[in-house]
Assembly symmetry: C2
Homo-oligomer: 356 residues x 2
């Protein structure tokens, strides 16, 4: 894939929603935003990490906030560029490339809006290889790259720049501003050189999203099992098949938090799976025993179509296939687990190491 056209967006958005592990925003919303920007400004050129000049000036952009809110309060396209332009002005340098901070139905598509509006190429990569709920939870943090100066903007035209002593302070201050801005805001952060991007980002994320989306499409067209195709492509495994029998959801401190309970069907009859989430799925417990956890990916897919179901869309009665897939191996290092392991999220368990 050398450039992204409107025709590519369907596959990318649906593939990205799978990697979003329940978070990262709704693929329908992401597709709408990107389509509007591409129709206005034309296709976006995609460059691989290998092609990035070491001196490039790369800026990741993303939505921050609660996905429960994002589906009701749509971002404005101007807001995306505003966050990027505000930071470029503060840094006093020209941007050369836009990148994705995370994979997700909105957060893989928002960077296309920025790239299209600013007339810049987009890097085929992201900073997590999945979605995580807090902004310091990116591989660049492990490489000592600073989240700030970062910019934040809302749809009304309010914007700010934060310049903090560490990436946890960036998360804390930006989260409060996001809550004030109505629980969703556009951010640009982790401005980095091409060299830093090549070292710290996960390569090929947008291509993988497009591939996953195409897999869903072709599996369905060929009457094959789309869930099995996704599991196979990600090197993951099926965790559970069941029906949603309970969802408890609360939007607190700027996050969509909650638990979903699934009652087993098919081969899992008689068993129960509980999913605990903070924007993204964090832990899956089968009959009280953790069977998958951060940093690995836990994805909830429609059992028939393989479409990702985001945590804000979980509903009583949905028939789901829950799958697990391995995270980028750097997340399983001691530094990675300190940032995104179960204990960071308040669960006193070791990560479930199913893929090591």
């Amino acid at each position: 894939m050398r450039e992204i056209n409107v025709a590519d967006l369907d596959d990318i958005a649906r593939g990205a929603a799978i990697l979003g592990t329940g978070g990262g925003g709704d693929p329908y919303v992401g597709r709408l935003l990107a389509a509007s920007a591409l129709r206005e400004h034309g296709p976006v050129r995609l460059v691989t990490l290998d092609e990035l000049p070491p001196g490039a000036s790369v800026l990741p952009v993303a939505m921050m906030g609660a996905p429960t809110v994002m589906v009701e309060k749509l971002p404005s396209n101007d807001q995306v560029a505003l966050a990027a332009r505000t930071l470029a002005a503060y840094l006093g340098r020209e941007l050369t490339h836009i990148a994705c901070a995370e994979a997700g139905g909105v957060n893989s598509l928002i960077p296309m809006v920025a790239a299209a509006q600013l007339g810049l190429p987009l890097v085929d990569a992201d900073a997590m290889g999945r979605a995580f709920p807090e902004l310091q939870m990116v591989l660049p943090t492990l490489y000592g790259i600073q989240a700030t100066p970062m910019a934040i903007a809302d749809e009304k035209g309010n914007r700010g720049v934060l310049d903090t002593v560490d990436n946890h302070w960036a998360e804390r201050l930006a989260r409060s501003v996001t809550v004030d801005m109505g629980c969703s805001a556009m951010i640009s952060l982790f401005a980095m050189t091409g060299g830093q991007a090549r070292e710290s980002l996960v390569p090929g994320t947008l291509s993988l999203c497009a591939e996953l989306g195409a897999l869903l499409r072709t599996a369905r067209a060929g009457h094959a099992d789309p869930v099995a195709a996704v599991v196979d492509r990600l090197g993951g495994h099926a965790l559970f098949t069941g029906k949603v029998t309970d969802v408890a959801r609360r939007t607190t401190t700027g996050f969509a938090r909650g638990e979903a309970t699934l009652t087993g069907t098919d081969g899992d009859s008689g068993a129960e799976l509980v999913l605990r989430f903070q924007n993204e799925h964090l832990i899956a417990e089968r009959d009280g025993v953790p069977v998958a956890s951060v940093p690995d990916l836990i994805c909830t897919l429609d059992r028939e179509t393989g479409e990702a179901i985001t945590t804000e869309s979980l509903r009583f009665g949905q028939r789901l296939a829950v799958i697990a897939a391995p995270a980028d191996p750097r997340w399983h290092t001691p530094g990675g687990l300190e940032l995104v392991g179960p204990r960071y999220f308040g669960y006193e368990i070791d990560p479930v190491e199913v893929f090591q």
Copy 2:
């Protein structure tokens, strides 16, 4: 007064605490900070509004937060200059003058720290003629001057710039960041030209603070009544003399809020006065009837010494003289009352018009 030396600080801090109407920070803390800066950098040159060149680049600076916290978490002197420097860099222009956003025991002294560290003259003026709890509550708002871009900095080195669609949004976002920063932060805002400063600021505030402080000192030395001297100088009147019999205080949403009850002594025996405050005194009710209110000044002074008692220092058993003094007349216009009248603070009463 043509310049401010360490020897002037005592009078200024105590006079400023009177104009602070219970808020604006503790004069002891303010004096300590300014003395340290003046000892290191030498005296600060004072210019009147009349002397300001129309094209001057004037920046008001202040502490934002709960005075209850400021007495425990002292600002660092670096923090003051950091807020000013961050904004100057964002604006991309050289500052020529520093100004006071409000009158108060800390907030009249903090600008001296900035002026000393940056080697800039200080304007003998402020933006309220008193202290008010929220940042949009300044006369420049009535003149259409924007609070933002504004900078905010904490003592750890975290800082931010906010650029909002109106001054109420500036207050809202800055208040959340202030709460995260530990309920007190340094801000620089309402950057304005010399022409805008001449039009919108209250002239002579620092000179008035020095004069009030000197009045207290000379009245006490001459065995005269310092409270009467202050009342006379401000064109105010005595409201109540009494003993503090109850103080309810809570630090919520970044403010020190509460009520104090005084039981009358001397000529007020048998009566009761209730003071309602949000950092500053907002309303005084004598036996249930409002007898003074914002925008006018309600000041709690030690009955014997005339020293201002800030709301965070109110204690059971203190013997106080409560006085009222007229606000700058611009606060009594419809636009002024909309910003700082009793109804803005949630009291369904008209302002008590004792001085009109």
